[in-house]
């Protein structure tokens, strides 16, 4: 036997009745047409349903060709970043009741990356930027036979930026990235931060040099879109500021 909150069972958080909701989805299928179009779908939803549940209902009951990525369905794998009512969010972390289901909810692919089909974009340029900042621990000398020591205080300095799930919600919310695809973008800088501020790492100056490039951190205009977009609550703009400061204060 299994506990479920479906059907008429009230949720433990208090009773939220079922309701109908309309999703206005940006459709694009190059096998059919070069033009993207909007299409409305109306589905029945329940209290704890998320955007992803509504997308699944459409795909599974109405139109199997609706295409999107998803995997874990609880906000840790980073597959389903999309633009929901004009804001970048994870579909599996956005409850329908929290985005005003009284009006049609718009769902579009994230911006700044080539659209492949419907809500799926080509993630390769995003991962290419990530790879460029050398996202791995760089050390010299012999490996220690036991673990490297690190104080809890030093560990705390980069805790926030270890949370990144590479969903691209931040990078694809950045107006600089929209106009200039060459810009590294917030996610790559966040992942550089994760190593620059790791006391065990010796590659900081190389990374700072890479990010000092004309397409690097100095392109950031501090609009805070990225911080707002991050589904993991990372203070992305702050991390970028810390990298900028390190560039000024650290000699490399």
């Amino acid at each position: 036997m299994t506990a479920t909150l479906e059907a008429a069972a009230p949720s433990p958080a208090g009773e939220i009745p079922s309701f109908t909701v309309t999703l206005r989805i940006r459709r694009f299928n190059p096998e059919v047409s070069e033009e993207a179009t909007w299409e409305d779908f109306t589905v029945e939803a329940h209290g704890t349903d998320r955007i992803l549940d509504a997308l699944h209902k459409i795909k599974w009951d109405e139109d199997g060709s609706l295409t999107f990525r998803r995997s874990c369905a609880h906000g840790v794998c980073g597959s389903d970043a999309m633009r929901i009512n004009g804001r970048n969010r994870l579909a599996c972390k956005t409850l329908l009741k929290d985005v005003n289901p009284d009006k049609p909810i718009t769902v579009e692919p994230i911006k700044g990356l080539p659209v492949v089909k419907d809500l799926v974009v080509d993630m390769e340029p995003f991962f290419a930027s990530y790879r460029e900042i050398m996202p791995f621990l760089i050390t010299s000398g012999n490996e220690p036979s036991k673990e490297r020591y690190q104080s809890p205080e030093d560990r705390a300095k980069f805790d926030d930026t270890t949370k990144c799930i590479l969903c691209a919600a931040c990078t694809s919310s950045c107006p600089v990235f929209w106009t200039d695809g060459q810009y590294f973008g917030p996610a790559a800088i966040v992942n550089a931060h994760r190593f620059i501020f790791d006391s065990r790492d010796e590659g900081g100056s190389q990374r700072l040099e890479i990010l000092n490039d004309k397409e690097g951190v100095w392109r950031c205009r501090t609009t805070f879109n990225c911080t707002e977009a991050c589904p993991r609550g990372i203070e992305v703009t702050k991390a970028i500021q810390e990298v900028k400061r390190a560039m000024i204060t650290r000699a490399f």
Binding site: A9, S11, P12, R69, S71, V76, K117, F127, E147, R148
Partner: protein, 610 residues
């Protein structure tokens, strides 16, 4: 069609696959094929920790860890493998730290450790702090660290490629293999999701690291993509599956949703309570209470609900109480899972207990391997050049119930071992010839599904499967409930043959791939239920109400399930009259059960008390 040739091909880019890739790519030309971007793999959803007897915070040693693993698995564990797991745990954690993994630290700067279910000091005296962790996102950190090191080592990935067939040089589904004759794995056939194109990968060595099959159930902590692909492919090609009846139900899934809340919540002091506010685990496991192994806690919770002490308006869940913990402590140690409670149920764990109920979590069984990671084609012989590691595999270090933190350990220890073994093998092996048209089965299957005119919807069949598995094959099972599940699965297999997809295109056709994945799920559910019907005893994660006791005299053996043509022999290796002799006929094939001995080294089976 495109063809590729690599020394080593790894299927799956979760923890086991990437850990293997870090070894093999140093020695041999390696490709990793994954149906997801590597960082999307479900290793990233693991939360609590990775066990290793580092003894950083209190006395501990690998022998205690071995014992706990064997006892936790209700003595169905192969003890030689468990010993390797516990011994090599220490180096595996240190490997990850040296690769950059940001573990939580002790005040002196060492890797910090915490308590977890079933891990004890000195053979069950009290709970021990053995789990190395990074807040409640240890799996995320492992997945990221392994991917980062794959970037560093320039590992070659084929992302969003679905492997849909395994090629061997003998057809194990029909051929009798003569004594001493070799069977070789020669390649895999993959489907590129972006283009719809078929790719053939010829390889000297192949490692399956495709993860689990939690989506056979409705309520599960598993990702949508965990559809048992690797298990089903091996099984369809005539390889056995081991111990499939043992599925772990994690005690603390968010009620109704199944989203995982780590056992670390209890390791950090969280308490399970029933509707009367009682700490009921004191009755079921007086010594370690809420930190008993998962099978025991899950059953205890389900029993509380069954006896009317469930909480909530429908009395259908219990409560995980963290309200006595300091908010700062919760924020430091359990930030993600408390956010899940807030996001998905609107519950504030600082002040309110969280509704929880068991959720399908982990397949203890899988593709049988030896301790090098080589895949077995019967009780003894291997398929040359074929390896498996992680949840897809059954070594068996988890026996009938896995301890928490032992799976992140398993993927690292046996991922590394299989990666090394595969690369070593590839150095001396040569490529074997592929059949003339290696893609024929895959192309036929895809075309048939794509071209079938209007039929039933895939999602309806999948939902019916998940519903019957939750209803009939979950924490409590009986012969009747399992037979009801099997009858449903038979019917669903028939319906599946007439199902169709709506998306007929080539590009990014997830509709088509969901249909293929449903085929895997049906086969895995079927073999799981057949094995469960046969095992008329209760052990670890498999609880039969009609046979509530463990029966060592007759069932201290691994189940080996083979799919065979109807005309093949009804006896499989390890046939035991009256116990491991079940044959289940299906339309066009049959499932024949045999057995394999459990490796016992130093621990005699005892009654399992906590």
């Amino acid at each position: 069609m495109q063809t590729h040739q690599y020394d080593v091909v790894i299927v799956g880019a979760g923890g086991a696959g990437m850990r293997a890739a870090l070894e093999s790519s140093k020695e041999a030309r390696t490709a990793v094929i994954s149906k997801l971007y590597p960082t999307r793999s479900h290793t990233g959803a693991a939360q609590g920790g990775m066990a290793a007897a580092l003894a950083n915070v209190e006395d501990d040693n690998w022998e205690w860890h071995t014992f706990d693993t064997v006892k936790g698995g209700d003595y169905l564990v192969d003890q030689d493998a468990a010993e390797i797991l516990a011994k090599e745990a220490i180096e595996s954690v240190l490997d990850l730290e040296r690769m950059g993994l940001p573990f939580n630290r002790t005040p002196e700067g060492k890797i910090d450790q915490r308590r977890f279910g079933g891990h004890t000091r000195d053979h069950g005296q009290s709970a021990v702090r053995r789990a190395c962790y990074a807040a409640d996102r240890t799996g995320h950190m492992i997945l990221q660290t392994l991917y980062q090191n794959c970037v560093k080592q320039d590992v070659e990935f084929f992302n969003e490629f679905y492997v849909l067939d395994l090629i061997t040089d003998h057809d194990l589904t029909t051929e009798e293999i003569a004594d001493g004759e070799e069977v070789n794995a020669t390649g895999v056939v993959a489907y590129d999701l972006a283009t719809g194109e078929i790719h053939v990968f010829q390889a000297k060595a192949i490692i399956f690291a495709t993860g689990g099959a939690g989506k056979i159930f409705k309520t599960t902590s598993n990702a949508h993509t965990l559809t048992g692909d690797g298990m089903a492919l091996a099984y369809r090609r005539g390889l056995p599956l081991e111990d499939m009846e043992f599925f772990q139900f994690h005690p603390t899934g968010l009620a109704g949703l199944g989203i995982l809340l780590s056992e670390a919540a209890r390791g950090e002091g969280g308490i399970l309570r029933n509707s009367e506010g009682e700490r009921f685990m004191e009755r079921y496991a007086p010594t370690i209470k809420d930190l008993a192994p998962r099978d025991i806690v899950a059953r205890s919770m389900a029993n509380e609900v069954r006896e009317g002490r469930g909480a909530g308006p429908n009395k259908d869940y219990v409560l995980l109480d963290l309200t006595h913990l300091e908010p700062a402590h919760i924020d430091a140690k359990l930030p993600d899972i408390t956010e899940f409670a807030r996001t998905y149920l609107g519950i504030e764990p600082y002040t309110e207990p969280v509704p929880v109920y068991p959720t399908a979590h982990y397949a203890m069984g899988g593709v049988p391997t030896n301790i090098k990671g080589e895949v077995l084609r019967d009780g003894v012989n291997v398929v040359k050049g074929l390896y498996a590691a992680g949840e897809v595999a059954c070594v068996s270090v988890h026996g009938s119930n896995r301890l928490g933190t032992n799976s992140l350990l398993d993927i690292n220890v046996f991922g590394k071992r299989s990666g090394r073994a595969a690369a070593e093998y590839a150095k001396t092996a040569s490529f074997h010839e592929l059949p003339e048209d290696p893609t024929v089965r895959v192309v036929e299957q895809l075309d048939e599904m794509r071209n079938r005119p209007d039929g039933e919807r895939i999602a309806d069949i999948r939902k019916a499967l998940q519903d019957t598995m939750d209803l009939n094959a979950q924490v409590f099972r009986t012969g009747d409930s399992l037979n009801a599940a099997l009858a449903d699965i038979r019917e669903l297999q028939k319906r599946y043959r007439n199902a169709s997809v709506q998306d007929k295109g080539k590009l990014f056709n997830t509709d088509l791939l969901e249909a293929i994945e449903l085929g895997f799920l049906l086969d895995i559910a079927e073999v799981t239920v057949v094995a469960a019907i046969n095992r008329k005893e209760s052990r670890g994660g498999h609880y039969r109400e009609d046979f509530p006791d463990r029966d060592d005299a007759n069932y201290m053996l691994h189940t080996m399930a083979y799919r065979r043509p109807p005309e093949a022999s009804d006896q499989a290796e390890g046939h035991v009259e009256g116990y491991f002799d079940h044959v289940e006929e299906f339309d066009g094939y049959k499932v024949v059960l045999g057995s394999k001995p459990v490796v016992q080294t130093r621990y005699e089976p005892m009654e399992r008390k906590y």
